[in-house]
Point group: C2
Chain length 316, copies 2
Amino acid sequence: MKLDSEHLEILAVIVEKGGLTEGADVLGKSQPSVSRSMALLEERIGLPLFEPGRRPLRPTELGASLARLGAKIRSANQEASLLVQRFRQGLAGRLRVGGSPIFMDGVVATMVAEFQGRHSDVQIDQSYGYLDQLETGLRNGGLDVAILPLHPAQVPLDMEFTPLLPGNNVIACRAGHPLTRRKAITLADIEPYAWIAPPANSPLYRDLQRALKSIGQEEFRVNFSGGTLASMQSVLAGSDALTVLPYSVVFLSRRTVPLEVLPLKIDHPDRQLGFLTVTDRQGPPAVRQFTGFLAAEFQRLQARIEHEQKLTLRRG
Amino acid sequence: MKLDSEHLEILAVIVEKGGLTEGADVLGKSQPSVSRSMALLEERIGLPLFEPGRRPLRPTELGASLARLGAKIRSANQEASLLVQRFRQGLAGRLRVGGSPIFMDGVVATMVAEFQGRHSDVQIDQSYGYLDQLETGLRNGGLDVAILPLHPAQVPLDMEFTPLLPGNNVIACRAGHPLTRRKAITLADIEPYAWIAPPANSPLYRDLQRALKSIGQEEFRVNFSGGTLASMQSVLAGSDALTVLPYSVVFLSRRTVPLEVLPLKIDHPDRQLGFLTVTDRQGPPAVRQFTGFLAAEFQRLQARIEHEQKLTLRRG
DNA sequence: GATATAATATCGCATTGTGTTATGAAACTG
DNA sequence: CAGTTTCATAACACAATGCGATATTATATC
């Protein structure tokens, strides 16, 4: 025999509040309504839930025991309501975020901690990929947001792209690298040094090729490739090798890894770092929270970058 | 916003069983019914509970979380059903039993342990009193059963009395008492010994008076009175004093206290030990269990007593 | 990629449960 | 023994739930 959970919850409130009338008030129902609910429950159980002929209704032993279970049910139900609320506001749930590896590791990941500090119940599943994979991921629902550098013309028709930062690349080396002591750097200066290359199929690798071509260096020697940002940083810091990285990545990396940017103008790819979502699919509400958060955070980052650049210019 | 606990329970089953159809089976409902319930829940929440366009229905993150809470609710509900069942069968609950002190301590209490071994969830509240108090206790609902020696004419009109044992009293003393060595005992033999008296307002005290009067001894010396059975037993075992007790009490006490019965015929009060309940009020179902148990247990006790008496006669 | 199959959604209709207000009965209070 | 409080009942509207029949749509199979 299945009891009605609603009835048990009502019973719990009545017992807790010490009376049917007050219980009805707390429940936001009319007194006759809860009275009838209890009558129904009693009828089904076939045993009295309340001592007969007591005016502030007092539960029998059975009534009190069932009330305890009703309270359990009630608290679970309330927890469910809260969960839904937080979900609605994007304060709970799971978020599947994909993006280009270097950028995710170097910039986005540093912001995730902060985001989770504010929205502790949002679980973030991070994955890596380039445009093609991210696009299909978004389409088949395997991803909620993609974060990557993109040219306006590359944005698929069914998707929306929100730029966050210019995709400026720079040539980076370890702090204290011989080249950093020079005021101006020529092609001949950098020619002897080996390069750390991002994965060969990554846009960043093509950026590297293009950048070097733009300053006239068609050939370059690669002494490390295929690693994630963490590896690149280690090799970079421990050798005199050079690499190409988004400026934002270098900027944030410097908090933990001693890197410097070579004062050498290279071609910037005409791309913006930003996030990509499917138009007309809002996904879990946490997406809005997260993208909103990212937008604000990147604005702060850009401001910090510009501030620093001003200082550098003044000094330089 | 209050969610429907029933909906959450359904959700839990669907998620657990991995599909709506199977879930409906387990719940004993039709597939359309649970489908609509889920549609309603989703509509109220305003967020998808299941991944869209997946045929064996798969829950979203929110759906899975809510299902966990639904499972909680479901288990509490099932526990409630079980509780009701056990209550119905008298296997759970609380029982308020009152009775005359000596008899409760000496006989009934030894049976309570056994009863609780079989019906572990029945809590027994024992209290002491004589006819008047027990009667009012039964009437105002403070007691479920009373156990006491009663004359048929004393049974109140609105109550029912079920006899369990004849209320035979005997004169008891410690084992090894000087009187036990005699074959026949006369009034003169017992005259020197002091008496342990039950509380002055107890029927047993009046029995003592009557018994001694019946064998011709109008006066008697009391050296201990007012104690419960435990005290009486201690004094009895540690001295040469005598007392009057129901035979059943002496019989059971001998398992732990070395007592003997003096072979002296005394007047038996015309009373039966038994239990008293209010007619037309069945009280908690555990009452039936308990009274039924007592009846069986007393039958066994009586058989043991009769067996012993046969042995004694044969030996004597 | 057409087709078969299984899983889910929707429809129409009867039944049950829930909510309300109005009102009666019973128990507590002073 | 009033007056008050507390609960039960009646009558009605409406929402939810039950069902079978049937349409729709992923997935599996060839």
